[in-house]
């Protein structure tokens, strides 16, 4: 396991290819969290196999980024290429949101605000069982609109679930606008700190920063890592919200929450990816 053992570029390529093949959106959200998932599965989460009961647990609470998880699981060798090609197919285990029936997925998600609660339960279980298992949960900044997130936050802090780490994909974008325009969460660090959490702010596209922040410490508090990310990271026109071919749409990052890529957009994205690090 090394800091770059799972290549974010390879994961991004899978995301683009599968989104194009299935002709679906949510591309911007997936690209936003790729580096976080690569850091987690490349260098942080201890899991010898998905069947290992003593493995660390992971909850992708922002389930709409499941394709990014599938990409990482594929690069881990737990999801085959044939399975990947069933993404968004009929009777497939690889839907837009992850299902626990798929090998390598610990918890299903798709409804925002539920992951942190399940993760807190998983962390509590590990602690009660005297296990060194850690639990990681990735949620979105807009997901912090959900009251249940703060129910879990209160619980985890009160019970000092030091083995629980939440990573917030802090990209400032939500489904119908910018978080600062919908329900402003600019002061997320202050909020989590006030709830009794150890709070870190990192560059969500820096594997070294993420890996360092996710390392175990002796701190008894649960840990939230607020990962500053860019929606659509890695594809410049998505980062800027430019709909290349759908010219009737105005420029807005939210476009790439929904849009599937045209062939031209796909070619441009792949070309850019090829030139990336």
């Amino acid at each position: 396991m090394g800091i770059d053992s799972i290549s974010p570029r390879a994961a991004r390529r899978i995301i683009l290819e599968q989104s194009k093949r299935a002709n679906v959106g949510h591309i911007g959200s997936c690209l936003s969290v790729v580096d976080i998932l690569c850091a987690l599965y490349g260098a942080v989460i201890r899991v010898s196999s998905p069947e290992d009961r003593e493995r660390d647990r992971f909850v992708l609470s922002k389930g709409h980024a499941a394709l990014a998880l599938y990409a990482v699981l594929a690069l881990k060798g737990w999801v085959s290429e044939e399975q990947l090609d069933t993404f968004c197919g009929d009777d497939s285990y690889l839907g837009v949101h992850p299902e626990a029936a798929l090998r390598g997925v610990d918890f299903a998600s798709g409804s925002l605000g539920q992951g942190p609660c399940m993760a807190a339960g998983a962390a509590l279980a590990a602690s009660m069982q005297g296990s060194s298992r850690r639990v990681f949960c990735l949620l979105s900044d807009a997901e912090c609109n959900e009251g249940s997130v703060w129910e879990a936050a209160m619980f985890a802090a009160h019970h000092q679930l030091h083995n629980l780490a939440l990573i917030v994909d802090w990209n400032g974008q939500q489904a119908l606008g910018l978080t600062c325009d919908v329900l402003n969460c600019d002061n997320l660090p202050e909020r989590w700190t006030a709830f009794g959490w150890r709070t870190s702010v990192v560059d969500g596209h820096s594997l070294p920063e993420l890996t360092a922040a996710l390392a175990e410490t002796g701190d008894p508090r649960p840990h939230v890592i607020l990962a500053r990310t860019c929606f659509g990271k890695g594809v410049s026109y998505m980062e800027q919200g430019v709909p290349i071919t759908q010219t009737h749409l105005s420029v807005h990052r939210i476009n790439w929450h929904y849009l599937p890529m045209s062939q031209l957009e796909f070619d441009l994205a792949l070309k850019e990816l090829g030139d990336a690090r």
Partner: protein
């Protein structure tokens, strides 16, 4: 307590309720008791995470808060993950009478039985509740229990019998069939007794669980009758009456069913459970009058059925 003593996987989580109920458990199993605070959604989420790790968590609150507030957490947690979480809702129907409409569990069974992966258990008395808890302790999937406050009332001839997906027949008659569920079944039995005083013999069957549904038993129970009545302290759209009506239609039975339940929106009033039953025509007089009406017998000597009881 006995279950917890026999199975170390059992945990008890409460949403900050259970004063004078859980103290003995807490004393005996301090490491397996957890007050999750007034946060039922998180409590069900916690239970999902705990069950995934091998625990058997029982989560407890007043039925409306246990079943309705975290409904989607139950649906996407233990049901979707097929995990053995037990959701325990206290106070079925109108048991929290004076507490008012927020505390009336009138939809929990109807709502939760829409989830095929969730066994729904609604015992009619304390003895049956004890049997049901034991009988379902090792069910591999999730279970919802709608429990009544144990007030010492026992249903005659029920004798604590319980089996998932089965009907318990506690009285045999040939004139009319009465199906009931939950603690209001005591009124169904009392109504049958009153009917006997008028020479009308009623069969009484108790439904105590759904998923699996007691389809075969209820069909067999209703098939000899031209008239039947269902009695439940639930709204009529999703519970026992809706189920029984479905059985009658699907099996092509010639049984006319009068569904007694709650048909009106809260009007701001509250009162003792018995008062609420009476108001909605679920008390023994209401059931009795419905039976007479259904059978075409004059009701002159009995209390009139109130507007809320129109069946």
């Amino acid at each position: 307590m006995d279950l917890a003593a026999a199975d170390k996987r059992i945990l008890l989580l409460t949403g900050d309720l259970g004063y004078m109920v859980f103290e003995p458990f807490r004393e005996r199993f301090p490491d397996r008791f957890l007050n999750a605070g007034v946060a039922e959604q998180n409590m069900v989420g916690l239970a999902t995470g705990l069950a995934e790790a091998g625990y058997l968590p029982y989560v407890y609150s007043i039925a409306t808060f246990a079943a309705l507030r975290p409904f989607e957490f139950i649906r996407n947690g233990p049901v979707l993950h097929r995990l053995p979480v037990r959701v325990v809702g206290m106070g079925m129907g109108f048991e929290y009478g004076h507490a008012g409409p927020t505390h009336y569990a009138l939809e929990d069974i109807g709502v939760l039985r829409t989830l095929p992966g969730l066994m729904v258990v609604a015992p009619a008395d304390g003895e049956q509740a004890a049997t049901a808890l034991r009988a379902t302790a090792l069910v591999p999937g999730p279970v919802y229990y709608s429990l009544g406050k144990s007030d010492g009332v026992a249903i005659e001839n029920l004798n604590g019998h319980f089996e998932p997906g089965r009907l318990q027949v506690v009285r045999h008659g040939r004139d009319v069939a009465i199906l009931s569920m939950g603690s209001v079944a005591v009124e169904a039995v009392a109504a049958a007794e009153k009917l006997a005083g008028r020479g009308i013999e009623a069969s009484v069957g108790i439904v105590s669980s759904f998923n699996p549904d007691p389809v075969a038993d209820v069909a067999k129970f209703l098939s000899p009758f031209r008239c039947g009545i269902s009695v439940e302290a639930q709204t009529v759209s999703g519970g026992l009456g809706a189920f029984a009506g479905g059985v009658i239609a699907a099996e092509g039975l010639h049984c006319r069913l009068r569904v007694l339940g709650v048909r009106t929106s809260p009007d701001g009033t509250s009162g003792r459970q018995e008062d609420r039953w009476r108001k909605h025509g679920l008390d023994r007089n209401g059931i009795f009058n419905t039976a007479l009406d259904l059978l075409g017998v004059a009701t002159t000597l009995e209390a009139p059925v109130t507007a809320g009881a129109a069946g």
